[in-house]
Symmetry: C2
DNA sequence: TGTACATCAGTGAACGCGCGTTCACTGATGTAC
DNA sequence: TGTACATCAGTGAACGCGCGTTCACTGATGTAC
């Protein structure tokens, strides 16, 4: 059990990563200092050597979750070849895998409702990522793509959220498929 | 200060209504027994004469919130004349007013993320309302309307959620407007 | 219609519990010589 | 390179607080005669 500065940085990263996973999986309010520290095999007292307070941790964890989620989404898309990048990203975003792995997925869809009722600072953090999401989509849609991109992003985030609520697996799958097909078609077809 | 049976029923309704408002405004976990009873000018002890437990109350409050939210949405639509019912409903759902009055608005959009991570029973309650929402839209779209309705509902719920997060009011308005225009156009235009 | 009594809606003190936060301590780390 | 000491990451007991829940109580309600 080392106590070096290197180890401290590593521990901070582990705490943050665990928190980022948990807020996506169970919501912002689900995180308790004691529970979180236990999860990374440390005692609760040590927490305040890394963060000023629980709410400070939550702010940083949200940032981390949003970045991880974005990386996840981008990573899937960029590994595919150029022409299919858009379609493969949409397919991956609206996949059953993504729906079923909230903890590792897009933090926007996992936390829209929660952040929507949070303070302005918290909302600003997520806003940046929403804008980036829309910009990426707009670029794929080509000129005059902003309005279409907004619709596509809203539909994708809404679909993922709904698919996680729907109790009937078939209906849940159907929602993912309908929006997947539609958004991919939105790019191919020019009119509206 | 009466204690009649009639008064009891009225008090139960008041507690439930206050809870339904609060969960939409601040989330399921925000409700505390003491705080809620204080809001309706009763003491916390009396709570257990109306509900078995806090979690029992939450289940009923979610049901109530979903029904109220639906009524709100339908009420707006049906007051308009027939041919414009669809467009006026969409306009009302994606209005700044609806965005800014979470406590009285659609419970699906206010609580998707929260319910998405809840147990199967809770999810089933909201699922019923999602299906009804989709069915209503599908009817408006005419034959083969199901897939289109799914896309429209996902986009509407996503848009409302995003508009509540976006810190820049102009961008928030723009998201509402883009999806509003698009969904209304989806009905007029036949091809996809 | 009027009285006597059982019922029961709401009160407020009390409970155990988990939480966020503080702090004196410990022992490994890393620096000064 | 080796020793002596200051630093500081992590420990775990302790704190005050708010929470959900229980319960003995009270006084108005509503029923039986």
């Amino acid at each position: 059990m080392g106590h070096s500065q290197v180890e401290k940085a590593r521990n901070r990263a582990r705490i943050l990563k665990a928190a980022a996973r948990q807020i996506r999986d169970q919501g912002l309010e689900s995180v308790s200092v004691g529970g979180l520290m236990e999860k990374v095999n440390l005692t609760h007292g040590g927490f305040y050597g890394h963060f000023d307070s629980r709410s400070d941790l939550l702010a940083e964890a949200l940032r981390q979750a949003l970045e991880e989620g974005e990386g996840h989404a981008r990573g899937q898309g960029s590994s595919a070849d150029r022409p299919n990048r858009f379609a493969s990203f949409v397919r991956s975003y609206l996949s059953r895998t993504h729906r079923d792995s909230r903890a590792a997925g897009c933090a926007i869809s996992a936390l829209v409702s929660d952040v929507g009722r949070a303070g302005e600072l918290t909302r600003a953090v997520m806003s940046k990522h929403i804008e980036r999401f829309i910009d990426d989509m707009a670029r794929a849609f080509g000129e005059d793509g902003d309005a279409k991109a907004i619709v596509a992003v809203a539909a994708m985030i809404g679909a993922l959220g709904l698919s996680r609520v729907l109790a009937d697996p078939k209906r849940s799958d159907a929602v993912l498929k309908a929006v997947r097909d539609y958004v991919i078609a939105m790019k191919r077809i020019e009119g509206i």
